[in-house]
Amino acid sequence: MAERERGRTPPFGGEFLAHHQVLDADGVGRSVRRMAHEIIERNEGLDQVVLIGLQTGGVPFAEAIAAALSDISGTDVPVGKLDVAFYRDDIDLRPVLPEADTAVAFDLDRVTVVLVDDVLFTGRTIRAALDAVFSLGRPRAVQLAVMVDRGHRELPFRPDYVGKNLPTRRNEAVDARLDGVELGEVTK
């Protein structure tokens, strides 16, 4: 998935070159589990809580957090996935991937939506995601969980749950997956 998205985004055909590993799979698993505990604590349980993973990188994290929530509390929270391509202000710069579908099979009215993404950077994805969420329904609250917060925000967003705060330079790249988090660069 990442290869295809990168192949159709400037610089076209760039490849991710990892410089060092920030977290391994166990580290990611511990962060996911901590975020799950924080979600339960903040919402005083999981009543009326739903998770929505942002395509494409946020989806596996949403599923992992849901699995951890189920493990901890015995409650299965609904999990959806959302593609925000049509809501982006930089729509020219990002490909629309046919396989990155939107599937939210539950009502969003009066629930607490936890948006889940892999990397929080400028915040533009989250702005688009808020527009998309409100076209699907009218939630009571929206919270944000990200695996990595790498800084360089261009919009006034602050995540509610963070797996790892990772100071970066602008030209660096972060690859966050369930099997680890790596810091590197995209080479042409």
Binding site: M1, A2, E5, R6, T9, P10, P11, F12, F16, T56, G57, P60, D83, A85, F86, Y87, D90, I91, D92, L93, R94, P95, V96, P98, E99, D101, T102, A103, D118, V119, F121, T122, R124, T125, D131, A132, F134, S135, L136, G137, R150, H152, E154, R170, N171, E172, A173, V174, D175, A176, R177, G184, V186
Partner: protein
């Protein structure tokens, strides 16, 4: 993709991508707010120099669902009646600052000429007997949904192939997507030459009907037939119409399509349209909006940077430094 003028301009991958995007827009249309801001600030002109109801209104809805501004231009109420040439009319509209023009014209090739005159993206919404690419896309979309894939499927296109822009576009789209296409009709309604199409021809519908995955019935366009090419509607029905008896010989999982409006009792009997689940005519109408959203989105929605992939002059947008998994 700058224009959509003929289906032949698209390869299989591009066709499939458009259909995939249409799937995405079909999901958007199910939301409580069935609208996305993808074309906010863009202007689409619907320039229909020939009458149309369903094509025009579905382009109109599609553009609005993408948040584009829509200008409706109809030939009847325009300065064309004062003797203005097509070129002057089109250039005048273009000077108002538009991004795309959806063109329907009774003359084959008019959209191509307009694409040479002005800089906007041109979408062909039907030109003469030549092409009707968005109809072919929505037909392909419906068939793909119903059959899973067109690859290796046997589709018959029945009726007035010679005078049908729908048939011309459908033949190109279906064959490009891997289907086997058989044209069925009396010799008078087949085009004089079939090259370069890779199609088969049958003059006896009953000989092929049991083998079909889909049957596409074309409308007998009495208003376009300058001379009598069929003896009578009744005889046409007897030989080429989808009667209840023929429908029984069609496979249970086959699909029945018609571009509308239907001449009941000629191409297809009311008995068939009324109670047969294989009839996909309403699916075809419903597919019009998401498919035309995909087309408008692909011509003006993105890709402004596609022209300079190797330029390297424009700054790399910050967001792309984020690598997704």
């Amino acid at each position: 993709m700058k224009h959509l003028l003929t289906i032949g301009d698209l390869d299989r991958g591009e066709l499939e991508e458009l259909l995939d995007h249409a799937d995405r827009f079909a999901e958007v249309l199910t939301r409580s707010v069935p609208k996305v801001p993808a074309l906010r600030g863009r202007t689409v002109v619907l320039a229909f120099f020939e009458d149309s109801t369903r094509t025009r209104s579905s382009f109109d809805v599609a553009a609005r669902r993408l948040s584009a501004d829509v200008i409706n231009f109809s030939a009847g109420a325009s300065s064309l009646n004062k003797g203005e040439s097509l070129r002057d009319t089109v250039e005048t509209i273009h000077a108002m600052g538009i991004d795309a023009m959806v063109v329907r014209h009774r003359s084959s090739g008019a959209p191509h000429r307009i694409a040479e005159w002005i800089d906007a993206s041109i979408v062909n919404a039907g030109d003469g007997w030549h092409q009707h690419p968005t109809q072919a896309l929505l037909d392909s979309y419906v068939l793909r949904k119903r059959l899973g894939s067109l690859d290796g499927r046997h589709i018959a296109i029945v009726g007035d192939i010679a005078h049908s822009r729908v048939a011309r576009s459908d033949i190109e789209a279906f064959t490009a997507l891997g289907a086997r296409v058989t044209l069925v009709g009396p010799t008078t309604l087949l085009p004089p030459t079939l090259s370069p199409w890779n199609v088969e021809v049958a003059h006896d519908l009953d000989a092929v009907i049991g083998d079909l995955d889909a049957i596409y019935l074309l409308r007998i366009q009495n208003e376009r037939l300058a001379e009598p090419l069929i003896p009578s509607n009744r005889e046409y029905r007897d030989r080429f119409g989808l009667t209840a008896a023929r429908a029984r010989r069609l496979r249970a999982d086959a699909v029945i399509c018609h571009p509308g409006p239907m001449n009941l009792g000629v191409e297809i009997d009311r008995e068939v349209t009324a109670n047969d689940d294989r009839v996909a005519v309403l699916d075809q109408v419903a597919a019009g909006v998401p498919v035309r959203m995909a087309v408008l989105f692909n011509v003006i929605g993105h890709g402004r940077f596609d022209d300079t992939p190797s330029g390297g002059d424009e700054p790399v947008p910050a967001e792309t430094n984020e690598v997704h998994s």
